[in-house]
Symmetry: C2
Subunit: 272 residues, 2 copies
Amino acid sequence: MPEAPAEPEFDRDIRLDAAGEGRFALDLAPGWVVGGGVNGGYLLAVVGNALRRTRPQRPDPIVVSAYYLSASLPGRATVTTRVLRDGGSIATMAADLAQDGSARLTALATYGDLAALPSDVRTTAEEPSMPPPEECVPSSMAPPEVLAAAPLLQRFDMRFDPASIGWAVGEPSGNGHLRAWFRLADGRDPDPLSLLMVVDALPPVTFDLGMPGWAPTLELTAHVRAVPAPGWLRVHHATRNLAGGMFEEDCEVWDSAGRLVAQSRQLARQPR
Amino acid sequence: MPEAPAEPEFDRDIRLDAAGEGRFALDLAPGWVVGGGVNGGYLLAVVGNALRRTRPQRPDPIVVSAYYLSASLPGRATVTTRVLRDGGSIATMAADLAQDGSARLTALATYGDLAALPSDVRTTAEEPSMPPPEECVPSSMAPPEVLAAAPLLQRFDMRFDPASIGWAVGEPSGNGHLRAWFRLADGRDPDPLSLLMVVDALPPVTFDLGMPGWAPTLELTAHVRAVPAPGWLRVHHATRNLAGGMFEEDCEVWDSAGRLVAQSRQLARQPR
């Protein structure tokens, strides 16, 4: 008998135990640590999963806004959800993620059924232009000390556009752009929930401005606009307004069919 | 004795009565109606004012995310606020606006002191290029039936860039851009709170795509990045991804000193 295929890492690590009406629990997995805390995109997907469990008839995130209150650590966490309104074809909900009584993240979200939306597309945005994956710079080439400080890199297969990877060799372009091909290392295909993680998976765009160091997210809002096609995603980060110790980071995610499937913007603190 | 100067309309219309710990009440003013409801930017400023009252030592909105749950009407409304975290130099709070027990808007926000932020600016965004106000098309030229359906236009002095006003004469550019000079009609200068209103003051950017009609906001997140200088503001709206019956609308607000003082993005439903 063939072995059952292993559960993908992403699904395993966002799996929740029911803990009462609108209450869920899980262990935040150590594999998603970057620097001193757990990656914000992974947390967003955990919360996104709790919201999906809360209203299974509204399966997909359409827009999610998360405010990060304190750094999350691997280990036990609870997510509590509340339905604020459910009507027409969408539900708006709130969610809070906490550890040991400390609030880590609070979020608002509107969920619906992406597959049921009208099929019209009038996008004027243009796909990021970049060389094919095999001509890009793989994240697996990161130095051992980086891989050790950022276990989450092992979850990903990222291929950076050579034009936006100069920072890795001390030559940032200064343009405020990062572009990479993205897929999960174990080959799990993207879905609306994993897009919530993908929008915060790349290094901070400030790397390309010659500012290494981590950039704590204050707030991140993601719009998920379509169910992504299987295969590679293209992810583009950009910032235009670095001021007052903060910067905005815009992210676009394009699927293998050439559709803009997610847009996000976050406000983050500049690296020290 | 000289007459005391009249209170500006904006300040008068966002004024709140204290109604207990974290509770406020007001009458939503009929002067901010557009189409069938009260303008979402005005509501955002009302909620923003309640949050400022909740934590006076964190006077300015830095980022606010609002989810619109049902159409608001002129008349009595209550705003309830909760402090989720206050530490370092910022506070994160939640707010809910309701009328007659119906939830209208729910929001999350981070407040701080914009004047206390570091003064560094490394913006690569470019100011909207447009003719001077006297060469632009004033909102007062709108047809009487439009002014009647949109009393809020009388609160504003907007001067539209002729290049993005073709829709007013049945010739939308199709580019998905709107640009206008903006000030309050009574001359009240902008401040961080009024910027929350300004980001949702212009007509929907879909007008420029040949889609007249109102576009209900599902979610709007605004970043306020600096205290605006007195005088005219320049406001730029753009959309790039009209799909699945929804579109994103990005807004930039530039002050008279040439600084990018606010950025917002909303997800809205396409006009029917």
